[in-house]
């Protein structure tokens, strides 16, 4: 019995860690989807870009950690705004699938660029609180609860709740939502579609940047890290949570993270990647019984 509870506890802890990154990447995708009905396939790669920049400025250039973090986040925002300007804006009238494919092209482009600059090496990024980290890691089970991981969770909760508040209450947030429903009418009301678009993409770049620099010390950085490891579960969890719901990204991410880890704990080792099977089954069940997602409402 004690074994059983230990397995569940372990699944909860590991699931929380993986679930938060699904949630953080998912949150950025929901943001763009809410505002423009676009699925941004490059979101995870912007996070990888930020993590890569953190490594570059901290380990190679030698900037202080916090400064390197800030530079990485600012560059991620700039990258995201650049993607909007160069790729998304000219495609404003194109079909959704075309825009989706274009963002996938951007993701491939960015992965190839990181390969070109950094090579295929595995890069280790130091955590923010170095000494506390090593002392806690010595504990058997609580070692999973490192400060860096708690920080990732805090960032996720803070972002999803404050963004939900922003869209529900602030005039700018409501203008962005109105833009996705009736772009023409909103332009008549004197709101610039281009500026809204730039703002939303900047915001999502900020999200990806923070997600990248905060999460990467808990793992190791390889080219395309977030796209390979977090993008598909993130997309799954936002469908489960509701594509237009910001708290839904949080709930869906944690749910997928926890349930897939739980399945992995109780599946015989002969079954390869049981966590992926679990995530897929959850996705199908959601689409079958509650296709609009757990927390979805209009817009």
């Amino acid at each position: 019995m004690a074994d059983f509870f230990e397995s569940v506890f372990r699944a909860l802890m590991v699931g929380m860690v993986t679930g938060t990154i699904y949630g953080l990447i998912g949150l950025g995708i929901v943001l763009i989807y809410k505002a423009q009905r676009i699925i941004n396939f490059a979101q995870a790669e912007v996070a990888t870009f930020a993590a890569f920049m953190l490594y570059l400025f901290h380990a190679r250039v030698g900037a202080p950690y916090v400064v390197a973090m800030l530079i990485a986040i600012v560059l991620a925002v700039a990258l995201s705004v650049g993607i909007e300007r160069i790729v998304i804006r000219p495609l404003r009238d194109a079909p959704d699938v075309t825009v989706f494919v274009a963002t996938a092209g951007v993701a491939l482009f960015l992965i190839a660029m990181t390969f070109l600059i950094g090579g295929a090496n595995i890069l280790i990024v130091d955590p923010l609180f170095g000494e506390i980290e090593t002392r806690i890691a010595e504990q058997p089970l609580l070692g999973l609860l490192s400060p860096q991981r708690l920080m990732v969770l805090a960032v996720l909760i803070a972002f999803s709740l404050s963004l939900a508040w922003f869209f529900a209450k602030k005039p700018l947030g409501r203008a962005i939502l109105a833009m996705s429903a009736e772009p023409f009418a909103v332009r008549l009301a004197g709101i610039s579609a281009d500026r809204m678009s730039t703002f939303v993409w900047g915001l999502t770049g900020l999200l990806a940047g923070v997600a990248g620099v905060v999460f990467i010390p808990t793992s190791a950085l390889t080219p395309g890290y977030f796209t390979a490891n977090a993008l598909i579960p993130a997309l799954t969890s936002i469908v489960v949570g509701g594509l237009t719901s910001l708290p839904g990204a949080l709930v869906g991410g944690l749910l997928i993270g926890f349930l897939s880890e739980l399945t992995a704990q109780f599946t015989p080792a002969t079954v390869p990647s049981p966590n992926i099977i679990a995530a897929f089954v959850i996705l199908l069940l959601t689409l079958l019984f509650r296709p609009k997602g757990l927390l979805a409402r209009e817009a």
Partner: protein, 373 residues
């Protein structure tokens, strides 16, 4: 839908009738002379002859495998085109259909020792089977939702399905003695591509093809005209899965060994989507050209480095950068892809005047609606 709503019924009907009439009479006035027809037929004939000659005239044996690979990608492009171009539903799990076909054929033809054609059939059938499973999902969700489901399915196939039991170690996929050389095998692949090409033409001309395209344009309108939406959606998935499964089987026997290390991964799925979109959704010659470009891009760059003075040697890592850049430029400048750019030539070959403006009057299928499930 919205365009219809904006116009009053008379206006809409009027503009449609008038436009069609004007276009039809302009076309009817022009008839190519005998020499004109000869010229028009000679162009596709020359292209076909060149393709058929390629495996023989290429200096090295291994280069015939490049021809095979391009033709296999061509089969996949036709498969994607059925789903994305005609039905308007994006699939990001095509590498799974492709991989299932490769594994099935290798198991049936080599592990169990049945003849090669039977293995290929098994590959095509298993591709169709997995596609139909996803097709049932597609009856409930559309557009971007379906894209996400196919994406998740592709990942499932890559990390789980292809790792089960003995599949994890890989399966050898041999070829009979007569087809052992790459040159001989490439004709098998080209033959399969030709078969799929003809099937695709027949499909578009048939009732089923029209029904599938009607569902793409508006599902509810199609239904109100008595089209069985469920049936034709599933049919589109079956056709697409069959094509992709056959392509996978051809791929497996080309390599001689099928394993999960053959990159049946997300990057392959994206490559399939990119080549189809760059090729031009709904245009079968266009998607084939897109497939050839993406299958041979690194070889082309390599050849350019060898033969063109001062052309830099291109790092293989950069190839996806060029692919992605091609995609973005295509989408922004020509949403109809290569299919749009070759429009003047295609119209000319079909017996029209050569008119560069055809490039800008392109009405390809953009495909895809944001699906609320």
């Amino acid at each position: 839908m919205t365009d219809l709503a904006k116009l009053s019924p008379e206006e809409h009907l009027g503009s449609e009738l008038h436009g069609e009439h004007a276009a039809a009479s302009a076309e009817a006035d022009f008839h190519p002379s005998g020499a004109g027809w000869a010229a028009r037929i000679s162009v596709p004939a020359a292209v076909v002859a060149l393709i058929l000659a390629l495996p023989v005239i290429l200096p090295y044996d291994y280069q015939a495998d490049i021809v095979s690979l391009a033709a296999i990608y061509g089969c996949v492009a036709l498969s994607m085109n059925v789903l994305v171009g005609y039905l308007g539903q994006l699939s990001l799990g095509h590498q799974a259909f492709f991989g299932v076909g490769a594994f099935a054929s290798a198991v049936v033809a080599t592990r169990w020792g049945y003849p090669l054609p039977l293995g290929m059939l098994a590959g095509a059938a298993s591709g169709a089977f997995t596609a139909v499973l996803l097709g049932y999902v597609a009856l409930r969700v559309r557009g971007l939702y379906l894209a996400i489901v196919t994406l998740a399915y592709g990942l499932l196939a890559e990390v789980s399905l292809f790792q089960f039991g003995f599949l994890a170690q890989g399966v050898p996929a041999s070829r009979p003695e007569a087809l052992a050389s790459p040159r001989a095998y490439s004709y098998v692949v080209l033959g399969c591509l030709a078969l799929l090409f003809v099937l695709d033409i027949r499909l578009v001309k048939s009732k089923a093809g029209r029904a599938i395209q009607a569902i793409r344009d508006d599902e509810r309108v199609a239904q109100s005209f008595g089209i069985n939406v469920t049936r034709y959606k599933l049919l589109a998935f079956i056709i697409s899965g069959t094509f992709a499964g056959l392509a996978g089987a051809l791929f497996g026997h080309m390599l001689g060994y099928v394993s999960s290390e053959n990159e049946f991964n997300l990057v392959l799925a994206l490559t399939f989507v990119l080549m189809t979109v760059v090729g031009g959704l709904g245009n079968r010659v266009g998607v084939l050209m897109g497939a050839v470009v993406f299958a041979t891009l690194d070889e082309i760059l390599d050849a350019m480095h060898t033969f063109i003075p001062y052309f830099p040697e291109v790092n293989p890592v950069v190839v996806p950068v060029i692919g992605a850049a091609l995609l973005v430029i295509t989408l922004i400048q020509f949403p109809g892809g290569i299919g749009q750019q070759i429009q003047p030539i295609q119209r000319w070959v079909r017996g029209g005047r050569f008119d560069m403006h055809a490039m800008h009057e392109y009405h390809g299928s953009g495909g895809g609606i944001v699906g609320r499930p």
